[in-house]
């Protein structure tokens, strides 16, 4: 199977229906996108591309990007997405690591010119012929994507995802979020990451319409799009919703009335913000899910139905098994490593012996969590990120969740640094728009003291202009530790 076959079926059924609306508000029907993607497939073929070849796409969110994505799948290629903001070094690393034949970009950029295999997406795609329909998706290549993980803690690894993995993920979301062909999604998510991309797969399978934005920018305009374009779905990240709620809560409340569902993922969301969304948009179904690139959408929760479980990321999605620490003796109500198995789980990393990442068919996620008696999972953080203060363990996220509640904290990150007395001590980095003085440091530590155990209170707070993050928004903790010389 090939997930692009779903698009072909929908394009046949709903050819004149709008599929994509670009950031410039130009709308494209399923038939128009099909035509352009077939032309792109011809372009690939004219460049000597064969089924099974690997192609890198590095685009901002755009219609052309999805045309290139579909056209490459039509040729039964394996795709690797690289964030458009990535530096040349990262692109070159990915290219050589996976052995990509080509990399496609919307514009020529001088600093990338030394990297071989560049193709600029042609402005006049119409000059290429449409590849014959009977040839689309005709070759067998089970490997759909290689998604390179962020590399926040080391060298990026390529996660192998098959068409079958993606199909299971798609069916899972569709079943619990009850998405249908009448839905209209406004997405600001990066479509080079699986969160946003999986929604595109769903919409082209069901026949919905997606309004693409390059990013979460000019929030009042975006919020106005919701009633203007009759948007029914608005997925986002916790950071994005925090920004919306902090600055435009009234506008969100007014305009979110028509939204059928909100889905949040990528990072933990402070309970305060979950409650605010439920309060401001009470008729909107509010979902959170937990997953990794290696096992996307492994658990989910609808907060409207589970008001007592707001700190959790829900139960396993259909077809998924989750256990803590040991499949034979899973922990309940105790912290341990989250293990996952299911048809959506990767078979491993590209070019790496992946056996050590699995335990008898269960993916060892490297995340710590707790499964409660009701089967709800609470994510506690990355095991490697745990801080050990004199034998007492905490995760950076526990401290960050508290600090973010303080009105003068705009962003923050916490790390453990070596301490001769306690092994490690807690240090937090804070971004504030207030005067970053000693008084504020004490105020913030006191704020933590009122909500955290003593050993979790940051020993030091360091004010910085910006928290370093990866392209996917994960905190670069190693970079912060390096600042401290540890």
């Amino acid at each position: 199977m090939n997930i692009a076959e779903n698009f072909l079926a929908t394009a046949k059924r709903l050819h004149d229906k709008p599929f994509l609306v670009g950031p410039d508000d130009v709308s494209y029907t399923y038939a128009e996108i099909l035509s352009r993607a077939r032309r792109f497939a011809s372009l690939l073929e004219s460049n000597g591309i064969h089924p099974g070849d690997k192609i890198i796409l590095t685009f901002p969110n755009s219609v052309d990007y999805l045309v290139a994505y579909l056209g490459s799948l039509f040729c039964s290629c394996t795709l690797i997405m690289v964030d458009f903001r990535s530096r040349p070094g990262h692109l070159e690393y990915v290219r050589t690591n996976c052995g990509a034949a080509l990399w496609v970009t919307p514009v020529e950029r001088e600093e990338f010119n030394s990297i071989p295999g560049q193709i600029v997406f042609p402005a006049d795609i119409e000059r290429f012929p449409e590849m014959n329909l009977s040839r689309l998706c005709s070759a067998e290549n089970p490997l759909a994507l290689i998604m390179y993980t962020s590399g926040a803690t080391g060298i990026p690894k390529g996660v192998r995802l098959t068409h079958s993995n993606l199909s299971h993920t798609m069916k899972s979301i569709t079943s619990w979020a009850q998405i249908n062909e009448n839905d209209r999604e406004l997405t600001t998510l990066s479509l080079t990451h699986l969160f946003g991309l999986a929604h595109i797969h769903i919409y082209w399978t069901l026949g919905g319409t997606v309004f693409i934005e390059e990013k979460l920018h000019d929030i009042p305009r975006l919020l106005q799009k919701i009633p203007d374009k009759k948007i029914t779905s608005f997925p986002g990240t916790p950071g994005g919703f925090k920004m919306i709620l902090d600055q435009y809560a009234d506008l969100f409340k007014k305009n979110a009335v028509g939204i059928k569902y909100i889905i949040v993922n990528s990072a933990p969301m402070a309970q305060e913000y979950i409650e605010r969304i439920l309060e401001l948009a009470p008729k909107t179904r509010f979902y959170m899910y937990y997953g990794l690139t290696e096992a996307s959408r492994s658990s989910y929760i609808c907060y409207n139905d589970n008001p007592g479980k707001l700190k959790t990321v829900g139960r396993p999605t259909p077809g998924t098994d989750i256990c803590i620490d040991s499949p034979a003796r899973p922990l309940v109500d105790k912290v341990g490593e989250i293990l996952i198995r299911g048809p959506h789980v990767t078979e491993g990393y590209f070019g790496i012996d992946s056996t050590r990442y699995f335990n008898k068919g269960w993916l060892k996620t490297g995340d710590s969590g707790i499964m409660d008696q009701d089967g709800f999972l609470t994510w506690k953080g990355r095991i490697k990120e745990q801080i050990n203060v004199d034998g007492m363990k905490l995760t950076p996220m526990e401290v960050e969740a508290v600090l973010l509640k303080h009105e003068r904290v705009k962003d923050c990150a916490t790390v453990g640094v070596p301490d001769e007395m306690t092994g490690e001590s807690v240090v937090s980095f804070v971004v504030t728009d207030s005067n970053p003085d000693k008084e504020l440091e004490i105020e913030l530590r006191k704020f933590c003291k009122n909500q955290l155990e003593v050993y979790k209170i940051p020993r030091r707070i360091i004010f910085i202009d910006k928290i370093p993050r990866t392209d996917s928004g994960k905190i670069k903790r190693i970079s912060l530790k390096d600042r401290l010389g540890s």
């Binding site: 004199d390 007395m421 000693k438 004490i442 530590r445 003291k449 003593v454 209170i457």
Partner: protein, 80 residues
């Protein structure tokens, strides 16, 4: 409040995160939850830095209250 008391207060606010109304001579680890052995080490280091009067962590560990710290500093010739 004398100048040296003010210095000690600020030092304890920073390390123990106490409020000013907790700056009482009979307040110690039992009353101030953040006052653990680790905090004692921090207090000893800060006292030496601010008052120039060294206090070993072992001596600090014997301090049961803010009044004890003041008395220890008085014994070193520091007025309160």
């Amino acid at each position: 409040m004398s100048p040296n008391e003010k210095i000690l207060l600020n030092l304890l606010i920073e390390i123990l995160l106490i409020d000013e109304d907790q700056f009482k001579d009979d307040y110690g680890p039992n009353e101030i939850e953040t006052w653990d052995s680790l905090a004692s080490v921090g207090i000893a280091a800060a006292v030496e830095k601010e008052f120039g009067y060294a206090m070993s962590p072992e001596e600090m560990a014997l301090m049961d209250s803010i009044g004890d710290i003041k008395n220890y500093l008085r014994s070193g010739g520091i007025d309160f």
